[in-house]
Symmetry: C2
Subunit: 259 residues, 2 copies
């Protein structure tokens, strides 16, 4: 297994830092290859701007078109090209981050915004009467697995089906489905540590054990059964789920997971 | 009306730039006061790190606790304090941004991550057997309105109830409910321009007219009826919605909107 860990926390001596370190040591001890993109340590530039596309930046700037032209020409900035190469090298990508305001820290969102360029992660494949690009189950990153390892300040019941924050699987849907399934990755069920701010050193061994267990079973874990776009579940080009495919009582994001 | 516009697009001559400019001119012509935080033009620092808290940064860094201590001491960086002051000045805040990867651009997420500090936007109010802080309907920003003005590359049916991206109101729930309702803002229904990358100059007048109409009716627009945390709809401390309050057939994020 070749695993890329994308890590987004400013403090090495944090729970997130400890979970990242444990992932590296656990996977390496099991004989796997591991690479780490520690975004804070790398001083990752979080913000998309014209400098990302150099001479390929148009006036006015067109983020999608310009990023696609720079990708095609091989003229994206070295930091972005390096991340794209790591993604192509990996068969498994672990994202380690704290859930800040119900989403990724800005530095990680900026990694997505800059690395997932047009022609690399979107705008891939034929658009026709029967296909609307290669995405949601197909695409550049097909055949790879993604796994979110997330810590939250809030407690588990707050993220349950009736919890005030909304269900964790719905909060993560825009990330798991919209970002990682989109360019073709299979997304494994997330590893979530709740109530992180209240944890003490005494709680860590149980968390560590659960995390090691997930890491050592990555290859046999079933991914979330998101529906592929181009294999018959959706009308094209409206991309609406065909009538009758949903399980009784399911609505919203849940429609896009096969029963 | 005192409106703050928080704008997040790298290109002034873009659809987002035009919508921001139109908001300024429309509101000012109607006699309202307007301030703009143009994050790209300001060179906004997107990434939370120890430099945000100066001498209040602990070792190891604790983002929540350290940001709260710096907020209490008035020692947050001047850029963050200026944004907090603008939020307190405003009665209405418009967020203008393109939906990149189903969420905010990193620069805007970094505005939230850095400006919405502990004791300002969270960790506010009493935590007891009957209250779990002042949030979700109460808090520092109570009495203010928030409005998202968003452009998408994808087409409207892709964001409909059965659309492959998921319903737009669910995609925006982590932002509208989790970020802006959380510290007490009332959130108006969003203004969404779909298929932005395919728009031509000929399409703009219709969009502009619709946007002006929304801007000129901000004060009479009903907010989304998110459920307040502390007024009886939720069990405390589990913060689960009480049984029997949901309309038939509603689940997921929709549970947290009153019928």
């Amino acid at each position: 297994m070749k695993t890329l860990i994308v890590h987004a926390h400013p403090e090495p001596a944090s729970l997130n830092g400890a979970l990242k370190d444990l992932a590296v040591s656990t996977l390496e001890a099991a004989g796997h290859e591991v690479r780490v993109s520690d975004l804070y340590a790398m001083g990752w530039k979080a913000v998309v701007d014209a400098a990302d596309y150099g001479a390929d930046a148009s006036t006015p700037l067109k983020v999608a078109a310009d990023s696609g032209r720079a990708f095609d020409a091989g003229t994206l900035t070295p930091d972005v090209r390096a991340e794209q190469e790591k993604l192509l090298w990996a068969d498994t990508v672990v994202f380690q981050f704290p859930l800040w305001w119900y989403s990724m820290p800005a530095i990680l969102k900026g990694w997505v915004d800059r690395v997932f360029t047009y022609h690399f992660a979107y705008g891939v494949g034929e658009h026709s009467d029967t296909r609307y690009g290669e995405r949601f189950g197909e695409g550049t990153l097909a055949g790879r697995r993604a796994l979110l390892s997330v810590t939250t300040g809030g407690l588990e019941p707050h993220y349950a089906d009736r919890g005030i924050n909304g269900p964790i699987h719905d909060l993560l849907f825009p990330i798991q489905h919209g970002i990682f399934y989109y360019p073709g990755m299979e997304v494994l069920p997330p590893f979530v540590v709740y109530g992180a701010d209240r944890m003490t050193g005494e709680d860590f061994p149980d968390v560590a054990k659960a995390w090691e267990q997930r890491l050592l079973t990555l290859e046999s874990t079933e991914p979330i059964a998101f529906r592929p776009q181009n294999l018959g579940d959706y009308e094209i080009p409206s991309l609406r789920l065909k009538e009758g495919l949903e399980p009784a009582g399911r609505s919203g994001f849940g429609l896009h997971v096969r029963p």
